[in-house]
C-alpha cells in the first residue's frame, strides 16, 4: 500500500469540504447576539415544544411497536418474512413527501382507515398533533427496528437456552438476559430514530400541515422563518444541528463504552 497517494488525499479533502462547508456557513451566520431573544420568542418556544412532544411520542411508539417486531424478524422464520422486513424498512429510503401522501391515503378523512375512524368514532387525524406523531413515527421507526433487529440477531441463543435450563421463564429471560445484552443496539436505534423524528419535514407538512403550536415543528418553523426572519431561522437551525451533534456523539460514546 502506498501511504502517500496525493490524489486520494485531494479527493478526500474535497469530500470532507463538501460535507463541512454548509455546516460552517450555518454556524458562521448565526446572530449570536440575538440568540437569547430569538429562542425566547413565543414562536421559537412553541416550535421547540411541539418538536419535543412529537419526536418523543414518535420515539415511544417506535420502541413499543418496534421491539417486538424486531424480535420477530430476528428470531422467527416464517413465510414472507423477507418481504415484510423490506416493507418495514422501506420508509428509511422512501421520499418523505411520498410517506406523507401515503399516510393521507391511509389515515386521511377519505383514507382507507381514516374514513371509518371518522364515521365510527368521529376521530379526525390529518392536520392534528396525532398526525405529526404518525408522520414522525412512520419515518423514524424503521431506524429503531433495523438496529434492534441487528442486536437481537447477533445475540447467541445459547444465553437464553441456558437461562431456560435454569428454570427462568420467558419474560424474565428477556428482561434480565436479552435486554441488557442488546441495550447498546436499542439505545443506538432509539437515538437514530429520535433524531430522524426530530428532523422530519416532508411527511409532516404533507400529512399534518404547518399549524403553529399544533403541528409546526422546528424544521417547519425554520423553513417558514427563512422568509420572514432569516436570522431566527438560522438560530433554530443551529439548535437542530447541536442536537444532531449530541445524538451522534452520544451514540459513539455508548458504542466505545462496550
Amino acid at each position: 500500500m502506498n501511504r502517500r497517494s496525493p490524489l486520494v488525499w485531494a479527493v478526500a479533502w474535497v469530500g470532507i469540504s463538501f460535507l463541512a462547508l454548509p455546516l460552517v456557513a450555518l454556524v458562521a451566520r448565526v446572530p449570536w447576539a440575538r440568540l437569547a431573544e430569538i429562542l425566547a420568542s413565543s414562536a421559537a418556544r412553541s416550535a421547540l415544544w411541539v418538536s419535543l412532544q412529537v419526536s418523543v411520542t414518535a420515539l415511544v411508539v417506535s420502541v413499543v411497536l418496534g421491539t417486538p417486531l424486531a424480535w420477530v424478524f430476528a428470531r422467527r422464520d416464517f413465510r414472507g418474512r423477507s418481504l415484510l422486513r423490506t416493507l418495514a424498512l422501506l420508509p428509511m429510503v422512501l421520499p418523505p413527501v411520498v410517506a406523507g401522501v401515503a399516510l393521507l391515503l391511509a389515515f386521511g378523512r377519505r383514507g382507507i382507515l381514516g374514513q371509518h375512524l371518522e364515521a365510527l368514532a368521529g376521530v379526525i387525524i390529518p392536520f392534528t398533533r396525532t398526525a405529526a406523531v404518525l408522520a414522525a413515527g412512520f419515518v423514524a421507526m424503521p431506524f429503531f427496528v433495523s438496529s434492534a433487529e441487528a442486536g437481537f440477531a447477533s445475540l447467541a441463543r445459547g444465553y437464553e437456552e441456558a437461562a431456560a435450563t435454569l428454570g427462568v421463564g420467558r419474560w424474565r429471560r428477556f428482561r434480565r438476559v436479552v435486554l441488557p445484552m442488546v441495550a447498546p443496539n436499542l439505545a443506538a436505534g432509539a437515538a437514530m430514530a429520535w433524531a430522524r423524528a426530530l428532523g422530519e419535514f416532508g411527511a409532516t407538512i404533507t400529512f399534518a400541515g404547518n399549524v403553529p403550536g399544533v403541528t409546526q415543528t422546528m424544521p417547519l418553523a425554520v423553513y417558514l422563518q427563512l422568509e420572514q426572519d432569516p436570522e431566527a431561522a438560522f438560530v433554530l437551525a443551529v439548535v437542530l444541528l447541536a442536537i444532531s451533534v449530541m445524538v451522534l456523539a452520544g451514540a459513539r460514546a455508548f458504542g466505545r463504552s462496550r
Binding site: 447467541a156 445459547g158 441456558a162 431456560a164 435450563t165 435454569l166 428454570g167 427462568v168 421463564g169 441488557p180
Partner: protein, 339 residues
C-alpha cells in the same frame, strides 16, 4: 428420583433414538464419535430440541410424552444443563450469575464450588476451569431434578483438564440427582461416571460399566475406545473363523460372534513359536508407536492386529517397520461373545 429417557428425534439426514434410565446420584457418561447425536440427546431431554416421539420422566414428573400430548417448556422441566460453551451471562458477575438462577441463598453454591474469591468477577475475567465451576454452580443453584453436562472439560487445555476433572468428580459425587455427562474422552467416563452409554450414528450401541463396555466392545469405535482388537466372525464350537482364519477360543461359541483381544495379550516372536499357543500366524510390522512406557505395534498378516510390547522386548525382537514377525495369541486370552 430418577431420570427416564426414551426419545426419537428426526431431522433431515439424521435421526436419533435412545432409551435409558439413570437413578438418583448416579452419573452416566454418554460417549461416541462426533456427530453421533450426543448433544442432540441432551437438548432433547431439556426440551430445547424438538422430540418426535417418546417419553421423558424426571423424578415423578412426566415432562414429555408424545402419546399423552405432554411437552413442558424447558424452564418447567427442572432439568439443569451445563453447556459446552458455559453461556455465563457476560453482564453479570459470578455471584449475580449464580443468584439469577438460585432457589434460595446463592452463597451456599458460591462457597461450595470454591468461587468465593471470584464472586465479583465477570465471566470474561475467569479462566476456563473457573468458568466451568461457575457454570456448574449456577446450574446446581437452580435446584434441578436432573443435571446434564455437555463436554464439561472439552474447552479446557490438557493441564487444566486433569485438575478440573478431579474437582468435577468430587462435586458430582455430592450431587444427589441423576447426572448425564456427554464426553468423547474415555478417561472422563472412567473417572466421572458410574456407567456409560455409547452413542453411534444416533443409536445406543453399548451400555454398561466402563469395564463391561471395554471388555466386550461391539463396534469399531468402542473397540478403539477400549484399545482392543475386535473381530467379527463365525463361531464353530471351540473355534471362531475370522476372514478365513480359525482361532481357538476358550469357550464354545456358535453362530455370528465377536472376538476381542487385548493388545497386551498378543505375543510377537522372531521365529515360529514352539509349544502351547495354538493361534499363530505370520505378519509384517506396519507401524510402531509409543503407548505409555510400552510400544503399540501394528502387524499386518492373515489377521491384522495391534500388539503391545515392552521396549526391551522390541529391542530383543529387533522390531522395525516391515520386519517379519510371528503373532501368537493364547486361546484363553480371547474374549468371545455373540454378535
Amino acid at each position: 428420583m430418577s431420570l427416564s429417557v426414551d426419545v426419537a428425534v428426526r431431522r433431515p439426514g439424521f435421526d436419533l433414538e435412545a432409551t435409558f434410565e439413570v437413578a438418583s446420584g448416579q452419573v452416566v457418561a454418554v460417549a461416541g464419535p462426533n456427530g453421533a447425536g450426543k448433544t442432540t440427546l441432551l437438548r432433547a431431554i431439556t426440551g430445547l430440541e424438538r422430540v418426535e416421539r417418546g417419553r421423558v420422566v424426571v423424578g415423578d414428573i412426566t415432562v414429555f410424552d408424545s402419546s399423552a400430548g405432554i411437552d413442558l417448556e424447558t424452564e418447567r422441566r427442572g432439568v439443569g444443563m451445563v453447556f459446552q460453551g458455559y453461556w455465563l451471562f457476560p453482564h453479570m458477575t459470578v455471584a449475580e450469575n449464580v443468584a439469577f438462577a438460585a432457589r434460595g441463598p446463592a452463597d451456599r453454591w458460591i462457597e461450595g464450588l470454591g468461587l468465593g474469591d471470584l464472586a465479583d468477577r465477570y465471566p470474561s475475567e475467569l479462566s476456563g476451569g473457573e468458568a466451568q465451576r461457575a457454570a456448574l454452580a449456577r446450574a446446581l443453584a437452580a435446584a434441578p431434578r436432573a443435571l446434564l453436562l455437555d463436554e464439561p472439560l472439552a474447552a479446557l487445555d490438557v493441564e487444566t483438564r486433569r485438575q478440573v476433572r478431579s474437582e468435577l468428580a468430587r462435586h458430582l459425587a455430592a450431587v444427589d440427582v441423576p447426572v448425564v455427562l456427554v464426553t468423547h474422552d474415555p478417561l472422563d467416563a472412567a473417572l466421572l461416571a458410574d456407567w456409560m452409554l455409547i452413542l453411534e450414528n444416533g443409536r445406543v450401541t453399548h451400555s454398561g460399566t466402563l469395564t463391561e463396555v471395554t471388555r466386550r466392545p461391539r463396534t469399531p469405535w468402542a473397540a478403539r475406545l477400549a484399545g482392543v482388537n475386535l473381530y467379527r466372525g463365525e463361531g464353530i464350537g471351540k473355534g471362531i473363523v475370522i476372514e478365513g482364519v480359525m482361532l481357538a477360543v476358550p469357550e464354545p461359541v456358535d453362530g455370528p460372534a465377536l472376538a476381542a483381544i487385548a493388545p497386551s495379550a498378543v505375543a510377537l516372536h522372531e521365529e515360529r513359536p514352539a509349544g502351547s499357543p495354538r493361534n499363530v500366524w505370520r505378519g509384517e510390522v506396519v507401524g510402531i508407536e509409543p503407548a505409555g512406557s510400552r510400544l503399540r505395534v501394528s502387524v499386518r498378516g492373515d489377521l491384522d492386529i495391534v500388539a503391545e510390547v515392552t521396549t526391551e522386548a522390541a529391542e530383543t525382537l529387533r522390531l522395525r517397520e516391515s520386519a517379519e514377525v510371528w503373532v501368537a495369541v493364547k486361546a484363553s486370552e480371547i474374549e468371545t461373545y455373540p454378535a
